[in-house]
């Protein structure tokens, strides 16, 4: 078992290294660099940039060196816990990401909790009462939820909220709280704004999860161990919750790893519509501006979170599923 964990850990580290290379290469792929897009935006506003100035900028940010040198320098900085400057913002990357990352995690966790809390019971109901009216209704609503794009739902919710409830839905904080330092009032303010955001972000995933849970559970309900559990005289509810549901949850736990980055990247447009202070819109802007260090750091962080999440879900699976635990001995 220890060997299994160590093997997983080594694999995780190798994967993270591969992610750093890939994210660096991908960000470098578009023609030009930050200076090119800086010159473009400057000349768009009527200010010319001379060749000498451009060259000075390139040297200042190390953009004149070969790619592998740039990569090694970047890696060297990260190894020291520095993530470089967000060129466009003129501030260290960590300053720019800082709060946004925390808020992103809070929002994502809320969306995932909402998704699971809704999807698992409905999925279980749909499977156990297959082809009942309730199942058809859940399926219909599920497909509608799946078909509506998140940003569309966000717009509708904002419109309805504004028109009928005279409430501004956008953002995570009330206007007066946005720049306030963290305290209890600000936290409560966040809690008030969170549900709508979580629902808008989670609704598409919920529909998907209902379908997955339904089909997983239908597979398990057919297995003989369910019938033998019934033959022991257990109540129907206990039979279902203790045996097939438990087994059907395994795939959910194994997807835990990439759920978080999925929510973050899937929520970029919604975040912009609802003007949420998360990393999604920041990443988009950084990519457009070819802001190497900022974009690289965000992609790297998402990658690391995926790997860490997968590692955690591997451990969880090992804990709840003895078949995995014993296979690896």
């Amino acid at each position: 078992m220890i060997a299994y964990i160590i093997r997983r850990l080594i694999l995780a580290i190798l994967t993270i290294w591969a992610i750093t290379v890939l994210s660096f290469v991908i960000i470098q792929l578009p023609p030009g660099d930050y200076v090119t897009s800086y010159i473009a935006s400057m000349s768009a506003s009527g200010i010319g940039v001379t060749e000498a100035e451009a060259q000075a900028l390139r040297i200042q940010y190390g953009l004149d060196q070969p790619i592998y040198v740039q990569y090694l320098k970047w890696m060297g900085m990260i190894a020291q816990g520095r993530f470089g400057m967000a060129i466009e913002w003129g501030r260290p990357v960590m300053d720019v990401i800082g709060d946004r990352l925390t808020l992103t995690i809070v929002i994502s966790v809320a969306a995932i909790v909402f998704t699971w809390a809704l999807a698992l019971p409905i999925g279980i109901y749909s499977a156990v009462r297959r082809y009942s009216i309730g199942d058809y209704i859940a399926t219909l609503i599920g497909f509608i939820g799946l078909a509506i794009p998140g940003f569309m739902l966000a717009l509708i919710v904002m419109y309805v909220g504004f028109k009928y409830f005279n409430a501004s839905i956008g953002g995570l904080f009330s206007a007066e709280m946005a720049d306030a330092p963290w305290n209890w009032a600000k936290f409560v303010d966040l809690l008030k704004h969170l549900p709508v955001v979580a629902i808008v972000l989670g609704i598409g995933g919920t529909a998907q999860m209902i379908r997955i849970m339904r089909s997983n559970l239908l597979d398990e309900l057919r297995k003989p161990y369910v019938m033998t559990a019934r033959a022991r005289g257990l109540s129907e509810a206990r039979v279902i919750m203790k045996y097939p549901v438990r087994v059907a949850l395994n795939p959910f736990i194994s997807t835990l790893g990439y759920l978080f980055p999925y929510v973050v990247s899937g929520s970029i447009i919604v975040s912009m519509v609802l003007s949420l202070p998360t990393v999604g819109p920041l990443l988009l802007k950084a990519l457009i501006a070819q802001d190497l260090f900022l974009a690289g750091t965000i992609v790297l962080m998402l990658g690391v979170m995926t790997v860490v999440g997968t590692f955690i879900s591997d451990l969880l699976l090992m804990w709840i599923d003895p078949r995995i635990r014993f296979e690896k001995q």
């Binding site: 003989p224 019938m227 559990a229 033959a231 005289g233 087994v247 003895p322």
Partner: protein, 349 residues
């Protein structure tokens, strides 16, 4: 049959149908038989003849969209009172108490009959705690004891293992232990040895016989294997397409089979005395598709003694041909005239 003793379980005209979009599958279509205390009833038939659904109907655990549409299942309780199982709600307290404490079930596939994520002990202790009203510790002691009784070595260690850690034979023993943990008076064994190799098969059958002697319980043994029936059963019920075609004591069935289907089944067993290099007789044709049952006697399309105009017109009823043996076939019914016997008879013998 054994008229001196009352049957423990009486099944009368049981009909369990599966209602599907494509049509109705009559998995069990008028099965009638008795199980006597301390005796073994063998139920034999090809795959798809409704043996397993009969067992599930008795326990009231037929899966959707299956439903018992007619018939009676009467269990004589330990206190002498009869319980009509078809009248109970499948998830009612009373029905759930009958499962486990009165009737135990052993399945064909011991691997998939255990939950893959719970220990064997967890599943035995659960049954004991549910029915015997004891605490966790006492239930565990009883579970170890039951595992020992079914011949599992080092039961205090095995109890914490998972089904996939046990060998096939031990797994089936553990399954029997689960079924027997609350001392049922009837054990339904649905193809208990089919998934096991031959030597293990013999051990499991020995174990069942030995447990039957110790506990005096009745066994309803479902199998397609006539060899197992010959070895284990006191009485035999032969089923074809959800109906009982013949029943009687094991000697009568093997030595003077009456129904053409029973005869054909027995002919198709390889024997050590048969002439070498002669093709083994088989039953011609195959089982009709469940949505496409023949009218009249379900066996007539494959029957060598098919009487045109009779067998394809009406369904024969189960009739006594001797004191202990009954057959549902027009060959043995004097009035073969039209429409006779569409209604299955009430009693046999």
């Amino acid at each position: 049959m054994q008229s001196e003793q009352k049957p423990l379980l009486s099944v009368r005209n049981l009909k369990t149908y599966f209602f599907q979009d494509e049509g109705t599958v009559k998995a069990v279509d008028g099965a009638t038989f008795d199980v006597y205390p301390g005796k073994t009833l063998g139920i034999v038939g090809e795959s798809g003849c409704g043996k397993s659904v009969t067992a599930q109907s008795i326990l009231r655990i037929v899966d959707q969209p299956g439903r018992i549409v007619d018939g009676e299942i009467v269990l004589r309780g330990a206190d002498g009172n009869d319980v009509e199982l078809t009248r109970l709600h499948p998830d009612s307290r009373e029905m759930r108490d009958i499962r486990g404490t009165e009737i135990g079930l052993v399945f064909q596939e011991p691997m998939t009959s255990f939950s893959p994520v719970h220990t064997v002990g967890n599943q035995i202790v659960e049954a004991i705690r549910l029915h015997c009203g004891v605490n966790e510790r006492e239930a565990r002691i009883k579970a170890v004891e039951t595992l020992r009784q079914v011949g599992i070595p080092k039961p205090e260690r095995r109890i914490d293992e998972y089904a996939f850690e046990l060998s096939g034979g031990l797994r089936q023993r553990a399954m029997i232990a689960v079924a027997l943990s609350c001392n049922p008076r009837l054990l339904i064994a649905d193809e208990p040895t089919t998934a096991l190799d031959v030597t293990t098969q013999a051990q499991i059958l020995d174990l069942l016989r030995q447990l039957q002697e110790q506990r005096g319980m009745a066994i309803m043994l479902i199998t397609h294997n006539l060899g197992v029936i010959a070895e284990m059963a006191d009485d035999v019920v032969v089923m074809y397409l959800g109906r009982v075609v013949e029943q009687g004591p094991v000697d009568a069935i093997f030595h003077s089979p009456q129904h053409p289907y029973t005869r054909a089944l027995l002919r198709s067993i390889p024997s050590i005395e048969s002439t070498p290099r002669v093709e083994l007789p088989t039953i011609s044709g195959s089982i009709p598709h469940p949505y496409n049952r023949p009218s009249g006697c379900p066996f007539y399309p494959r029957c060598p003694e098919f009487i045109p105009g009779t067998c394809d017109q009406a369904e024969p009823a189960l009739r006594a041909v001797s004191e202990q043996q009954s057959v549902s076939c027009f060959l043995y019914q004097s009035q073969v005239s039209q429409g006779q016997g569409t209604k299955p008879s009430e009693g046999m013998a």
